[in-house]
C-alpha cells in the first residue's frame, strides 16, 4: 500500500469518528481520519454535556450504549487517563400523572432488557436529589449504572489511543469529493490531496447529509439546536443526571448533572425546535433554563453560570441513528444521525462498525447495526429522545 492508500477513511473527527478510528486501529486496519476543524471534537462533541446511559427503549441502542458504558467506566483503570467518568446514574423525577404512566410503561421494556433501573418513591427521590421541589413530586425512575464523562477529556483520550495504535489524523482538511465508480467507493479528495481506501465512513455529525450527497446517497439528517451551559464548581451535592421531561413555555425537556469537577452542566431543548446550523447563543436560553432549573431545584439559584453554548442534534425523522453499509455503494458506511447521543453511542458503535469492516462481527455487533438501517420507514418514534 502506498502512502495515500488506506483500509478505511473516516470523515469527521468527532464523537463517532474518533472512537471508531481507535477500534479500527486496534484491529490493525490502516485508518485515516479527515477533519475540517482544527482538532478533535471541535464540532458537536464539545457541545455534548457528557451523559452516558443504557436506559433507552430500543434493543440496538441499549446494546451499543452498554458497550460504551463498559469503555467509559473502565477507561481509567485500563488506560490510565482520567476522562471524568462518574457512575452517578440517571434520574427522571416526575410531577405529572401522564409522565408517570409513560415512564412506567418504558420501565417494563427497560427491565425486559435486564437493565438496572427502578421506580423510586418520592421520599427516595428526595434523598437522591437533595432540595428537589417536593410539591406534587410523584417519584420517578432511577438507573444507577448510567453515568457521565467529560466529552473533552474522553475524545482526547480516544484520540491519543488511536494515534498510539497507528491511526492517522489530518485536521483543517475537509473532504471535497468522495470518489466512486462501478457502484464502489475508492477514495476521497481534499484540497491537499487524493486518498484511496477500501472503505469510507461518513461520521460527519451535523454535516452528514451534505457529505453523503457527495457519495450520492441521500440521508435524512437535519440538525436542530440545543443550548447548554456550565456553572462554577461547587461541593458535590447530588450524583445523577437529572432529566425533567415536562415541557416549559419555550422548551421541551432539559437535563443537568454535576460533573467530576463539581460544575453543574445543563442543556435545554427549545420548543418549537430551531432547525439549522446557527450555533450562536440567543438571549432566550438563560431566562428559560434558569426558570425551569430553579423551580425544580431551588438550591441551584445561587450557583454562578460560567459559560453557555449552543450545539446541534443531527436529527433523523424517527430519532434513531443511521448506521449502515448502503447496498447501492459498496465500501461506503454511514455512522450518522446520532440525534444528540453521539457521545454516548460513539464508542459502542465504533466497536460494532469496526467489527463489520474487519469482517468478523459478533451476533451482538450484528444486532446493533440491524437496528439502525438506512432503509427503514422512519415512522417509529424513540420513546424518550
Amino acid at each position: 500500500m502506498s502512502g495515500n492508500d488506506y483500509d478505511v477513511i473516516i470523515i469527521g473527527a468527532g464523537s463517532v469518528g474518533v472512537p471508531l478510528a481507535m477500534s479500527l486501529a486496534e484491529r490493525k486496519l490502516k485508518t485515516l481520519v479527515l477533519e475540517g476543524g482544527p482538532s478533535v471534537g471541535q464540532g458537536q462533541n464539545k457541545c455534548a454535556i457528557g451523559g452516558v446511559r443504557a436506559t433507552h427503549s430500543d434493543g440496538a441502542k441499549i446494546k451499543a450504549c452498554l458497550r460504551s458504558l463498559e469503555i467509559f467506566s473502565t477507561w481509567k483503570e485500563k488506560r490510565g487517563d482520567d476522562i471524568g467518568w462518574i457512575r452517578g446514574g440517571y434520574a427522571f423525577p416526575v410531577y405529572e400523572e401522564a409522565d408517570e404512566a409513560v415512564l412506567k410503561e418504558l420501565l417494563k421494556i427497560q427491565l425486559s432488557f435486564g437493565l438496572n433501573i427502578g421506580w423510586l418513591a418520592p421520599d427516595k427521590m428526595r434523598v437522591l436529589l437533595p432540595g428537589i421541589t417536593e410539591k406534587e413530586l410523584r417519584g420517578g425512575t432511577y438507573a444507577p449504572d448510567d453515568g457521565s464523562a467529560s466529552p473533552l477529556l474522553a475524545i482526547n483520550a480516544f484520540y491519543r489511543r488511536a494515534l498510539v495504535l497507528g491511526a492517522e489524523f489530518r485536521f483543517k482538511e475537509p473532504v471535497t469529493e468522495i470518489i466512486s465508480g462501478n457502484g464502489m467507493v475508492t477514495g476521497v479528495v481534499t484540497a491537499l490531496g487524493r486518498y484511496r481506501a477500501r472503505w469510507v465512513v461518513n461520521a460527519a455529525g451535523a454535516d452528514a447529509a451534505e457529505v453523503s450527497d457527495m457519495a450520492g446517497v441521500k440521508v435524512p439528517v437535519n440538525p436542530d439546536c440545543h443550548e447548554a451551559g456550565i456553572t462554577e464548581p461547587v461541593e458535590r451535592f447530588f450524583e445523577p443526571m437529572v432529566v425533567d421531561i415536562r415541557p416549559g413555555d419555550k422548551s421541551k425537556n432539559y437535563y443537568f448533572y454535576q460533573n467530576s469537577e463539581g460544575q453543574i452542566v445543563f442543556c435545554l431543548t427549545p420548543r418549537p425546535p430551531i432547525w439549522g446550523k446557527d450555533t450562536r447563543s440567543t438571549s432566550q436560553f438563560l431566562p428559560e433554563v434558569s426558570k425551569r432549573m430553579t423551580a425544580l431545584m431551588p438550591n441551584l439559584a445561587n450557583i454562578k453560570v460560567r459559560r453557555t453554548w449552543r450545539g446541534l442534534y443531527p436529527m433523523t425523522p424517527d430519532g434513531f441513528p443511521i448506521v449502515d453499509f448502503p447496498a447501492a455503494l459498496k465500501g461506503y458506511a454511514l455512522a450518522v444521525g446520532m440525534c444528540g447521543q453521539g457521545f454516548m453511542l460513539g464508542p459502542g458503535l465504533g466497536e460494532a462498525i469496526a467489527a463489520h469492516i474487519a469482517g468478523k462481527p459478533s451476533a451482538d455487533d450484528k444486532e446493533i447495526l440491524a437496528g439502525f438501517r438506512l432503509e427503514r420507514n422512519f415512522s417509529g418514534q424513540e420513546k424518550l429522545k
Binding site: 446557527d278 447563543s281 430553579t294 431551588p298 454562578k304
Partner: protein
Amino acid sequence: MLEPEEKKKLRFTFEGRELEAFEDEVISSALIAAGIKIFSHHKKDGSPQGIFCANGQCAQCTVVADGLPVKACVTKVKEGMKVAALNGLPKMPRTVCVQELGRVEEIETDALIVGGGPSGLAAAAELGKLNIPTLIIDDKHKLGGKLVLQTHKFFGSVEDCFAGTRGIDIADKLEDRLKAYPSVKVWTNAVCAAVFSDKRAGVVYNGVYYLIKPRAFISATGAREKTLAFAGNTLPGVYGAGAFQTLVNRDLVRPSKNLFIAGGGNVGLIAAYHALQAGIKVAGLIEALDHCGGYKVHLDKIKRLGVPVYTRHTVVSANGKNGVESVTMAQVDADFKPVKGTEKTFAADTLLVAVGLNSVSEFHDQATAFGMNAFVCGDAEEIAEASAAMFSGRITAHKVLKSLGVMTGPVPQFWFERLQTLKSRPGITQERAVTDKDKAVYPVLHCRQEIPCDPCATVCPKKSIKIPKNDMMAVPKFEGECIGCFKCLLICPGLAVTIVDKRKDRQLPTVALPFEIGRGLVKKGDSVKLTDCEGAELGDAQVVDVKDFKAENTLIVIAKTTAAAADKAAGLKLYKAQNPQTAGGDFSSMSDEVIICRCERVSLGEIRKAIRSGIRDLNQLKAVTRAGMGACGAKTCASLIAGIYKSEGVDLKEVTALSQRPLFAEVPLGTFSNIKCRTEEEEKASWSGF
C-alpha cells in the same frame, strides 16, 4: 495626599475574627486593611490565594460571604456579615424558599455604552447633547473607570481634556456633565454579562437581569493588565499595579510596607509614585528594556525620591511561603532571558506587575460577530492615555450618530489631530534648557522629553511659557517675563517646573519645588537634600517656607541654596535605597512548575507538554489541560500561553484561537429569571431578632 472622609463603620467577621470596615467598602479592602492577605486556599493544591486583579475580572479573591461564594473585590461589606475563607470547593447553602419567579424586562435604547470610564463618559456626553436615548453602564459602584484610581494630575491639554487636574477630580467633572443631559441614563453596579446573536445585551443591574436592545452598541470597556510568568507568581502579594491603585487610591488602604515593581511604563512609574505618596517604601523598579517606556517626568519623579530603577532586568522569583517576603531580579540577555549569577534579592512584601495593558476587546468582538451596530472607543480600541480616550469617545459618538441617521455636523478635524497627538508615544529628549540667569525670578522647565502636554503654557498669566499651538508634543520654552506666581509649577503633572527667585539674594536664591508626598514631612527650618531632575544629589539646603495649596492639593517647598544648585534642583531626596542581597531566589522562572493558568492552576510544564504533543488548537489545549477553563475565562493566561507557543518555536498563525462564548462574567443561575429566593442563612438571619 488623600484625606479620608469620615465614614460610618460596620462590623463583620472573617473566619470568626471580629473586624471593622467602612460603609461601602469592599470585602477585599477591609481584609487587607486588617492585615489579612490570604483569603482562601485553592481547590487543586491548597495554595494560598489573595487579591490579584481587584477589578472583578479574575476570581482569585473569592471568599464565602454569608454562605455564598463571592468576589471579595466587588462585594461590599454588610453589617454583621460573616466572611469565611474558601478552602477547596464552596458548599452551596440550601435555598429554603422560592418566593416568586420574576420576569426579565427588555429595554430598548438608541445607544448602550458599556463602560463608564473616560471614553464612555465622553461618548455619552456627545450623545446626550443631541438628546439621544443612551444608557451607560459600569460594573463598579462609581463612574470614572480607572480615573478614580488616578490621584496624579493629568497630561494632555487643559482645554480639551482637563490636563493638570487630578484623575479622580476629572471623573467627577465628567459625571457631573452628564447630569445636564436628560436622555442619558446611568447604571452603576451594572455588569454586561453577555451579548447575544439576537442583538441583545444581558445586563445585571443591582442584581436584576435585563435584556437591553440597543440600536448602537458601544464598547468602552477599557483595558486589563498583562501578567508575567515567574516562580512564585501566584503568591498572595503579587498583583497588578491597577489592583494596587484600587487599594491605595480608591479605598485608602495601605496594603504594603515595602514594594517592588516590575515594569517601567507609565503604569509602573505612576504606581511607584502613588506608593511613595501613601507612605510605602519602594525597594526597586525594574524594566526589561534598555529604558523605561513611560514618560521621563514620571521616571524622574521617583528617581528624585530615591527609588532605584534597574533597566535590562526581570523578575526571577517572588519568594515566600504564604505570601511575598522577598523578590529576586536578574539581568536579562539579548533574548530577555535572565542571566544566572546576576541575581539580587530585595526584601519586599508586595510585587506589582505592571508590564502593560491589553484591550478588553471581547465585548466588541462578540457584538461585531453577531452583526450588531457595534462601536469601540478608548483603551478597548487602542491602549493610550485617558486624555486620548476622551477624544476617542467623542469621535466614536459621532460615528454612532451617523449610523443612527442623526443629522449632525462633521467631526471637527482637530479632534482627530488631538487624538493622534494624545496617543503619541514620548518623543526625543532634548538637552537641558539654558536658564535665564540674569532674570530676578524665572521658571526652570525640567520637562525635556516630547510628550503631549501643554498646561504650563496655557496657565501662564504672562504667556511667557511657549508651546506652539499646533505642536503639543514640543517641549515648553520660557521667554519673557515671570512674576513668580507658581501657577505653572502647580499645574505641571510631571512636577517638572521649579521657580528660582533671586529678588532677595542673587548669590543665595530660593528655589520653589512642588511636593506631593505628604503634609508635615518637610517643615520650615528643616535641612533637606536637594537633587537634580534625575535624582543626583546637589547637597543640603535649608527650607525657608512650605506653602500648602489646598485647591491643587500640592505643597511648595521653598529652599535656599546656591545659584548653581537652584537652577538644577528639582526635588528632595527622601529615601535611602535598599541594599539588595546578591543571591537567593528561586532561579526557575523557566521551570515547569510556574503557574500559567491561575484559576485552574495549570503549570508551564503541562502546557509545554501539550504543545510538544502537537496541539495547535487553543480549544483542544483547554480541553486537555483546563488552561483557560476557569472563572476568569482565559483573561489572564491567554497572552502567556501565546508567549509559550512562541518560545516553543510555533508560529502563532498555525494556532487556532479560543472560541468566544457568553458569558463575560459569572452570574448566579437564578438571576437570569430574576427569581426571588432566600437561602437558609438569610432565613436564619431574619429570625435572629426573635
